[in-house]
Symmetry: C2
Subunit: 113 residues, 2 copies
DNA sequence: AGATTTATTCTACTTTGTAGTTTAAATTAT
DNA sequence: ATAATTTAAACTACAAAGTAGAATAAATCT
């Protein structure tokens, strides 16, 4: 089976969405921060990079090292962006989940009709 | 960390949704069939039961053996249903994903405004 | 040069996802 | 009554994804 046809894990989805959300400012620290802010998910930085690397190996994200900026200390940032096939994979995962939710209503939830 | 506070894997979500969707008729074979029909995901029966068992251990589903029916051969069915905490976990996962999608628009997709 | 800051890489382990084979319990045909 | 058939679950083993924590690197500042 082609890698492109596999589903993404949930954490992988979160990372892809974070990167898309952050645009030009997507790198380790900001991604981690966004996850903490938006969905209260605190992952260690190690967990993050491991998954990012796997996503890159599968071709779902691309990365490039940033220039050393003159305004601050610290190592260069590694910027990430979602590839076209990453977006496709994301879309597939979303659709599958939507389809599954379609005829399910949880107790205490409202029906949409 | 409490088990109830952890996120579900994506396949776990699919199983919970299948069970909810099937209502009184949720057991191994029908769940497998539903996954194949709805989202073209073909899992082996072994994969299915393994995950079902783990979900049960975590308290997200409950099971009971069905009566032997007089109308057909074959072993008794094991019926599954989603527990209250299973529903909660599902709701949390859905919300997290919704939040993450909120300010993301994929190429070629429509904005909702 | 040494301290500080910012950020990535490495290593190891746990949990989830997945397949394939085996076993079990019922009915049906001989 | 027993062997064949049907339906379905249990078991075993491995691959992939999720997670943590320490180590390392590359800048700037004093």
């Amino acid at each position: 089976m082609n890698a492109k046809e596999k589903y993404l894990g949930e954490f992988e989805q979160f990372l892809l969405l974070s990167i898309l959300s952050l645009g030009e400012e997507a790198y380790g620290t900001t991604i981690r921060q966004l996850l903490a802010d938006k969905i209260a998910r605190d992952v260690t930085i190690g967990a993050l990079y491991t998954t990012l690397e796997r996503l890159e190996k599968k071709g779902f994200v691309e990365s490039k090292m940033g220039e050393a900026t003159r305004e601050r200390g610290g190592r260069a940032k590694k910027y990430f962006k979602v590839s076209a096939s990453g977006e496709q994979a994301l879309k597939r995962s979303k659709q599958a989940l939507n389809t599954m939710w379609q005829d399910v209503t949880l107790r205490g939830e409202h029906c949409y009709e």
